[in-house]
Symmetry: C2
Subunit: 167 residues, 2 copies
């Protein structure tokens, strides 16, 4: 009889542990790694324009009207691009993780899945992942005769760390 | 003692049931319903241009260049839009579920998460969900002085059913 109780106790313990591990695996999947991305990662971006590691998958190099290009950008936690401007603007559609968008002189905006950022032309800004999450956005970038982007200086550790405390 | 065994049995039974329900909820989530969409559903689309139920969330009504509009369209299983054309083309980015894209006179293309469809201007076509899955795509639609879309006839049951057997 005692044995039976012991066995049932063990079964209950195993079940609870298994369930907790399962739930933990599911919740831990999100923040630091993107296990099941919508679009393949593509190529690593240039260290000249990014701090940390990001991947760019060019989905549509040039639309038939020649007005824009579409890419998917995945940032590892802590990664961000340099300060930069777009001569004719850019649109970001956030599809995974948590990120930041900051225009020069303004507080950073915390970005979540489903957020849309309309970046006006000739506006100095940067975007990237938060420290504790990967981050993926689609970018629709308008093209002009002057190109699509003007890269500026890296976002320093100080700028990156301070902007995260202003949220 | 018997009471104690009975109690432990009930606990084990409840745990197993709870775990199974949890696992079932997770696996059943994918094909027929989109429980955790990236973008909110938005408004139901017009029955004039869709067979079945779809929802349109206009993410960017008009880009600053005035050249395109961006929307998120979610189709319930079996739902598709009418045959139609775009005067300056459209791009679809598939973000959830399984869908179909067919140009007049060609076999349908089966679409999965991560697929990109570049729809040329003035090309008669339709898109929608398969019978057994919801389907969500982002649409970047080029705008012209003649509008962005010319709606034509509904996709008949026969057209829809036959195209699915050609995959």
């Amino acid at each position: 009889m005692k044995n039976k109780i012991e066995k049932l106790r063990i079964v209950a313990f195993v079940l609870v542990t298994f369930f907790n591990l399962h739930v933990n695996a599911q919740t831990k999947m999100n923040p630091l790694e993107n296990q099941n991305p919508i679009f393949p990662k593509g190529e690593k971006t240039s260290a000249d324009y990014f701090t940390g590691t990001a991947w760019l998958n060019v989905l549509v190099p040039k639309d038939e009207t020649g007005k824009y290009t579409i890419g998917n950008v995945e940032f590892e936690p802590g990664c961000r691009n340099n300060w930069h401007t777009h001569p004719a603007g850019q649109i970001l559609l956030v599809i995974e993780g948590k990120g930041l968008y900051q225009e020069r002189g303004k507080p950073a905006r915390l970005l979540n899945k489903g957020d849309v950022v309309v970046i006006p032309s000739n506006t100095e800004h940067w975007h990237g992942a938060t420290k504790d999450s990967h981050f993926t956005h689609i970018a629709i970038t308008n093209m002009t005769e002057k190109g699509a982007v003007n890269w500026l200086k890296p976002v320093t550790e100080e700028e990156y760390n301070n902007c995260q405390t202003t949220k």
